[in-house]
């Protein structure tokens, strides 16, 4: 096995050969899939734990306090303690609720981010699903989550939950359009929906720098719309605490509540990951044209670090405006999407096509 932090292709391939050497081809594939599944399970769990901790710390620093400090060094074990508490809590089910859908909803919300995370390219070769329609797959699958939210609100037998779910349904369906259109703006340049090719096309510079003004507009729209799509930040109307107590997950407790919580944070990560891949080159190091010296220096930093570095920057950006802005109202939210973001993104695509046709991009 020749393991290299810069290119995982060989490493993955050697694992595959090793498996096929021991088992029959069919069994080897199943085992391979199982390994990948377990890896993602571990990754998602760790991601949830660390993101919750980071969010709490960032929020605390914005608010001039310390945040969790007691459990573990600087409170690092706080989220672990919280999860353990949630696991041991009684899963309450409200009276007269639709028990089957109530239980199902918590799983559906978690399915969507799991399916999406497989398509995220973490590094060269470290990429579970690499379709030719990767970007399309991500946007399509990520909208399964809204079904879970609607079901949760509907089956809870609680008016606050229902209002929250309806709000969130309207919100996610609307903002998806802008997210997709802003991503397509970059696809105009790459000419491919395959995520590995989108990353490869940025080997001489990231699209946010190369793509002229339309790329920057597309990025801003992407950040706003995808934050709204994930019910975060100033767009957290679905769980607007001061209006709807907790929105669609008001009636959930214990581990099911943890599922909603986890799904929210994984979605949060996915937004940043997709944003980083499409606009900031994914795992591709920062390259400027043909400056050999600079490019080589940048290549020393492993792609995984580049990827997670970009993701962290975007995560921080999204947290930043979550902890600064007040919440929008539902009609303002929809107006923002249908009257501003959507027309702007459509015009932006035309603009980008013009840029691409005339070769005004780098």
């Amino acid at each position: 096995m020749n393991f290299s932090i810069y290119d995982f292709t060989e490493f993955i391939r050697s694992i595959h050969f090793w498996l096929t050497g021991i088992f029959s081809p069919g069994l080897a594939d199943v085992i391979g899939l199982a390994i990948i599944g377990v890896c993602f399970l571990l990754f998602v769990t760790l991601l949830g734990l660390s993101l919750v901790y980071v969010e709490r710390k960032v929020a605390a620093f914005f608010q001039q306090r310390l945040g969790p400090m007691r459990v573990g060094f600087w409170g690092t074990a706080q989220t672990v303690a919280d999860i353990i508490k949630l696991i041991f809590k009684e899963p309450l089910v409200t009276k007269n609720s639709d028990k089957f859908l109530f239980n199902l909803a918590a799983f559906i919300v978690l399915i969507a981010p799991f399916m999406v995370i497989g398509a995220v390219p973490f590094a060269k070769g470290l990429h579970a699903l690499d379709f030719d329609i990767g970007l399309f797959y991500i946007t399509a699958v990520s909208s399964i989550g809204v079904t879970g939210i609607l079901l949760a609100g509907w089956s809870s037998n609680n008016k606050y939950s229902l209002i929250g779910a309806m709000r969130s349904g309207a919100q996610i369906v609307s903002y998806e359009l802008s997210v997709v259109l802003s991503l397509i703006t970059i696809v105009v340049l790459t000419g491919s929906l395959q995520l590995s090719e989108i990353v490869a096309s940025q080997s001489d510079g990231w699209w946010i720098f190369k793509g002229n003004i339309p790329a920057i507009i597309a990025f801003i729209i992407f950040i706003v719309a995808s934050t709204a799509e994930s019910n975060r930040g100033p767009f957290d109307l679905a769980e607007a605490e001061s209006e709807l107590t907790a929105g669609f997950h008001t009636e959930y407790s214990g581990i099911r509540f943890a599922f909603f919580f986890l799904a929210e944070y994984v979605n949060f990560f996915i937004i940043a990951a997709v944003g980083a891949t499409v606009f900031f080159g994914g795992w591709m190091p920062l390259h400027i044209g043909n400056i050999e010296f600079f490019n080589n220096a940048m290549d020393v930093i492993p792609p995984v670090i580049w990827f997670f570095g970009k993701v962290v920057v975007l995560l921080f950006l999204i947290m930043w405006f979550k902890w600064t802005f007040p919440r929008l109202r539902i009609d303002q939210l929809l107006t923002l999407e249908w009257k501003y973001l959507l027309p702007i993104s459509i015009v932006n695509i035309l603009l980008m096509s013009l840029v691409a046709l005339n070769g005004w991009h780098l």
Binding site: Q63, Q64, P234, A240, S242, E243, T324, R327, D331, Q332
Partner: protein
């Protein structure tokens, strides 16, 4: 960009009738709800997200303070008033003390008047700071809450040093104040003034100028001047509707006739107006304290009173301006050591019942903004 949501017309938010058959439904907001800030229960009649009717149901924290007053001595009544509007406890105390002093025809020393006024304004500041933080939190900007509390802490520290308590201070007694001010009081207050003058513009930066905030509050919760007067909406909420109701100006008590300050009146009549009035009042409070803090006259901190106070038979009324509006204390005495009857006219009670008129046709999210700009304190409503 500054008016990104300007296309949202009023018609949208007031709701037009839709073609499909819809049904109105009820939602209980409270008694346990994050944005009622206490045990207030609002029975909402909703059409989708649009409010058709708001019915406040009160009484969840009723402690019959008025009845308890009938068996207590006048000194003890002061303690009970702390528990009404706990954020303007000093003003509540002061109202009772002023009523008793009126009955006894007792002239309190100038020093007392100055101390009472300064502490009143500090209390008003701390109340408005808390309101500002909570207002932001209700609208989803949780960070403001901690900014508000950061500054409020400075004031509660001053109170703690002055009288030992941070929230329910009990600093007033009939005839004066309980103790003389701490030797550090003037210095610490001046330090606070300097500190808060730097911090107050931060409030504007964080919330007032924010597009989302302005759109969430502008033209929301319209309360006309006529409605404000007929509902008896006083305090900053009334003044935002153009109703000049500042007791400090109309009927000056303590040292308010010796200081120069503006009565903030706006004619917006909406949530944003009420917000701006409170922000401007904070500047005025700072201005008032500045004028008084260096000129506290020497003298007694308490006029001599008998151990058992008996008011001459008759009726006495005293009103003060608390952070929420006009608080009236009506005392009937029959020459016993406790009053025959006490009635409080609390500002929160009158302000709350304007909510139905304000909220009709707006959305649930707007109701939260309206409730925070009315600055309701539930124990003040129920008493």
């Amino acid at each position: 960009m500054s008016n990104i949501f300007s296309l949202i017309s009023d018609k949208d938010s007031k709701g037009t009738s839709s073609a499909t058959e819809t049904q109105e439904y009820f939602v209980n907001m409270g008694p346990q709800h994050p944005s009622t800030h206490g045990v207030l229960r609002l029975l909402l009649t909703l059409d989708g997200e649009i409010i058709r009717k708001v019915e406040p149901h009160i009484g969840y924290i009723h402690r019959s303070i008025e009845k308890m007053c009938e068996k207590d001595s006048y000194q003890q009544i002061v303690h009970l008033t702390d528990r009404m509007d706990y954020l303007s406890c000093h003003m509540n105390n002061e109202a009772v003390c002023l009523a008793v002093e009126k009955g006894l025809q007792l002239e309190v020393p100038d020093r007392v008047k100055f101390i009472r006024t300064i502490i009143s304004e500090l209390t008003r500041l701390s109340s408005h700071q808390l309101w500002w933080g909570v207002m932001g939190m209700d609208l989803g900007a949780i960070t403001t809450f901690l900014y508000g509390f950061r500054d409020r802490e400075q004031i509660t520290d001053i109170f703690e040093e002055t009288c030992g308590a941070r929230l329910t201070m009990n600093y007033n007694v009939p005839g004066g104040v309980m103790f003389d001010i701490h030797p550090n009081f003037q210095k610490r207050t001046k330090d606070f003034l300097k500190y808060f003058k730097e911090k107050l513009p931060e409030y504007d930066e964080l919330l007032t100028g924010n597009v989302i905030f302005v759109e969430r509050t502008k033209d929301i919760g319209y309360l006309s001047k006529e409605d404000a007067i007929s509902f008896g909406v006083t305090g900053p909420s009334g003044r935002a509707s153009g109703f000049a109701c500042d007791v400090r100006k109309k009927d000056p008590y303590s040292a308010y006739d010796r200081v120069d300050f503006k009565e903030i009146i706006r004619t917006d009549c909406d949530s944003f107006g009420r917000y701006k009035v409170r922000i401007a009042e904070m500047y005025e409070s700072l201005h008032i304290i500045e004028q008084l803090i260096d000129n506290i006259p020497e003298g007694d901190f308490k006029a001599k009173t008998k151990a058992v106070i008996k008011l001459p038979p008759g009726e006495y009324y005293q009103r003060v301006e608390t952070a929420r509006g006009e608080l009236g204390v009506y005392v009937i005495s029959d020459n016993k050591k406790s009053p025959y009857r006490v009635k409080f006219r609390s500002p929160g009670f009158s302000n709350l019942f304007a909510l139905d008129t304000m909220a009709k046709g707006y959305k649930i999210a707007d109701l939260v903004a309206m409730m925070s700009t009315l600055d309701l304190v539930i124990p003040d409503i129920d008493r």
